[in-house]
């Protein structure tokens, strides 16, 4: 009987050998596959339920982690949700993260390399890991003002920067949304909210598709600043050059024609200097410049202003890349030179261009982050202003500034004028097909001789009158608010 007892024992040991094998398989060999399984929420939840660092504007958190429920010890909360949604993005269990929540993931979750020692000490002290907090360059008053200047129900974006440092002072767009709806721990609500929000046209839910960094829009006449810089840079033109200014220009190889803006004073002259052409925003002089210089020169100047570059990496947001195509026929080149047809720019791109002109031709790296602080408030990074590139020469930028000042003081951007302050500006009205609706632009800076602030406004899908009301006069309000600080 003892022999069969030993056999029975061996059978039991054999079963246990299988168990050891199965455990090893699950926990070591097949573990990676199981960890990567889409049904496995552990990795997401590990991050999701952490005490993430706050995103701070002027000392007050706009996104912070507060005590959650028993399934998740922390809940992300946005204090002025709609106002900052385009910056913070959302932090969701189902949809992941966007905006700063996504791009600053390592810092906010406390897993960046700079926080390595903090992590070690947290392990030994048995504390929950805590993330770093991020303070932004935004000015809450200007942010609020800019947000309120876009009427509800209107699609539009405003970017306010300091041209000397590249710091973003305000960046807003409408329609906006409440990221709390998507950050909720109630999965059903989260999903239905996301689906609802996604139906709203132009909502800044996806920063690389809409909003200041993502909306790719026809820039219209503000693109003439690129033509001007390219012309002066070529040496073929100077400030006194006389440009052809026919009322309408036949497009080469096409039956269509490019007319001048009918509402202004362009029709009064058949030739124009740069000052007049910019003040009245005539189309034909710039189309002829483009045809004269060729698309390479225009494309090169556009690139120097930032077209083709992803500013999202620098701002820590998702973004779209502005385009000036390089395979244009002459008709397309003429139309693109006045900001129509194939040229597409984000509001941020136009703001970057204007900032470069304001800063003596030197484009500063755009920056949203003032300081990143460890949980013990130690500063772990504090970005310094950084030169991105020379967009144009100091002399050329000074010349363009002078003309832009005339555009405000004598020309069609008069709404932006401020008594006692020299304001430089340029408007744009990009037609949207034959709908009669336009994208209405203003971009400019003040004071012209010592730029403190650059403002870019775009209102999408409006008629000419509404567009004019919502751009230059609003820019004036923002200039005043910043300069009076």
């Amino acid at each position: 009987m003892n022999q069969s007892i030993r056999s029975a024992w061996l059978a039991a040991v054999a079963m246990f050998a299988l168990i050891f094998g199965a455990i090893s398989y699950v926990q070591v060999v097949g573990a990676d596959e199981l960890n990567d399984n889409p049904w496995n929420q552990r990795a997401v939840l590990a991050d999701y339920c952490k005490d993430r660092g706050a995103i701070i504007v002027a000392g007050k958190p706009i996104a912070e982690s507060v005590a959650g429920d028993e399934t998740c010890s922390f809940q992300r909360k946005y204090t002025q949700p709609e106002l900052y949604a385009g910056i913070t993005g959302y932090f969701s269990r189902t949809y992941g993260a966007s905006g700063l929540e996504q791009e600053l993931r390592d810092e906010l979750a406390g897993s960046s390399d700079q926080l390595f020692l903090d992590r070690i000490s947290q392990v030994f002290l048995g504390r929950q890991a805590k993330g770093a907090s991020v303070e932004l360059t935004l000015d809450p008053a200007i942010q609020k003002l800019a947000y309120d200047l876009i009427p509800d129900g209107q699609r539009g974006s405003i970017v306010v920067t300091n041209p000397k440092t590249g710091a973003i002072i305000a960046m807003v767009s409408k329609p906006s949304y409440d990221p709390n709806l998507i950050a909720t721990h109630d999965v059903a609500k989260e999903q239905s909210s996301f689906e609802e929000l996604n139906k709203i046209r132009g909502i800044n839910l996806n920063q690389s598709v809409s909003g200041p960094t993502g909306a790719l829009l026809a820039p219209g006449s503000v693109f003439k600043l690129v033509d001007t810089a390219a012309a002066l840079n070529s040496g073929k033109y100077n400030k006194d050059s006389e440009l052809p200014n026919p009322a309408s220009m036949p497009l080469p190889g096409s039956t269509a024609a490019l007319p001048n803006y009918a509402g202004g004073n362009c029709y009064t002259r058949t030739t124009a200097d740069f000052a007049f052409a910019l003040e009245q925003s005539c189309n034909t002089p710039f189309a002829s410049i483009a045809l004269d210089l060729g698309q390479q020169a225009i494309a090169e100047q556009a690139r120097k202003f930032g077209f083709g570059q992803d500013f999202g990496d620098q701002l820590k947001l998702q973004s779209a890349v502005s385009v000036f195509p390089d395979d244009l026929d002459d008709a397309a080149l003429a139309q693109s030179a006045v900001g129509q047809r194939d040229v597409k720019a984000t509001p941020l791109q136009i703001a970057m261009m204007t900032a470069a002109i304001a800063n003596g031709g030197v484009q500063m790296k755009p920056n949203l982050i003032k300081t990143v602080r460890a949980p013990d408030l130690r500063v772990i990074s504090e970005p310094e202003p950084e030169v991105l590139r020379n967009s144009t020469s100091a002399a050329i930028s000074r010349q363009i500034t002078e003309w832009m000042t005339d555009v405000v003081s004598k020309g069609i951007a008069g709404g932006a004028a401020i008594p006692g302050v020299e304001v430089a500006g340029k408007t744009g009205t990009a037609q949207l097909g034959d709908s009669g609706l336009n994208n209405s632009w203003f971009t400019g800076f003040a004071p012209a001789n010592d730029p403190q602030v650059a403002v870019t406004i775009v209102i999408e899908g409006v008629d000419v009158t509404t567009g004019a009301q919502l751009t230059s006069p609003n820019a004036k309000k923002i200039f005043e608010a910043v300069l009076n600080k």
């Binding site: 009987m1 007892i5 029975a8 024992w9 050891f20 926990q27 028993e70 399934t71 048995g126």
Partner: protein
Amino acid sequence: MIQVDTAPKPRRNVELALLVLALAVGIGASAMVDLNSETPFDSDFWFQSSLLAVAAFAFHVVLRLRAKYADPVILPIVVALNGLGLALIHRMDGPGDDTGNNQLRWTLIAVAVAITAIWFLKDHRILRRFTFISLAASAILLILPLVPGISAGEVLGASVWIRIGPMTFQPGEIAKITLAIFFAGYLSSNRDLILLAGRKIGPLQFPRFKDMGPMITAWLVSIGVLVFQRDLGSSVLFFGLFIVMIYVATSRISWVVIGLALILGGGFVASRIFAHVGFRLDSWWNAFTPEVYDRFPGGSRQIVQGLFGMADGGLVGTGLGQGRPDLVPFANSDMIIALIGEELGLIGLFAVVLLYLLLFTRGFRAALGTRDAFGKLLACGLSFAIALQCFVVIGGVTRLIPLTGLTTPFLAAGGSSLLANWIIVGLLLMISHTARSPIDTTPMTDTPSEAVKQP
């Protein structure tokens, strides 16, 4: 029968030292869990720890007095497992949950019953007198959950619970012991008869039908459990117990072959006839298919989430109290092994499985050492039952085999299971005491076998 030499030393001091170690494991685990809670080291912690220690030392003292040659390793292993289980169950209690304290209550009751059994029974051989009473008791225990009035109805698809006042109980757990006693008693009396009588058909020798009657009854019992109580796990366990004991009694491998064929055949037929068995098989084989994962009830979500937890634990685990058992359904009972894998890692889970390996090995050692056939069969059956139960549970959790609703001995939340397993430990300790005693003072109680009367 071969005699195995046993060390004639009591080794109670070794047990005491190991017991201190075991308590350190259990209480240490509690302390780590407590550190992560909102109120570390509150009265609950001290209450739990001291009661566990008192129970363990009381058991130790009783062994010194009544079974001083008992195996010194068994009790510390069981205390360590029970203590770890208490800590883990307490850790998973949400606000207002009382599972941890309930488990502690049952631990104390179970220890008290096991101590009482050792104190009054003194010698396991007395149980042999109750061979047929045990069969009757098994039948009654298994039928109880189906009796209207005390049945707790169908809970989670199985009817294995009874309700007496506020308490619920799973009589099937105790039936495991009474069935083992019956098998041991019956086989030790009739093994020669079963071996010698009967016809030989081909290479296999079949016993006479009248000798096999009770065995067939026992087999029918396990089938009945499957059909009427819908409890696949217990059915497999009873059947495994039955095969091993008859194999040990007769040393005929043919029994194992027949038994395994019956299990596989029965399992196949059952999976075709009963939806719940079919679901179990499907959830095992197609666990990662979306329809199976989302099916409710009978889906694979529980298994898959348990696997995710274990994978997350990896080699060293997330640390006690740092895992996410809230994502795994029934983490504190059926899936406690997955939680150990998650929080203590592969290393911790291996340690726990090794404890079980050591435990059943000591049980088999007692079976080898004891001199009476009844004791050998009983110790062997009970030890194998522990091993099989672990295999079924851990194999199910790791998707080695289909998951069935068995409890992890000593670890999982559940009073009936604790009580039954502590009684098993008491019996194993008594058998090991007889096995290791220097001189067997009582005469062999084996009555002359009926084989003598054989022609």
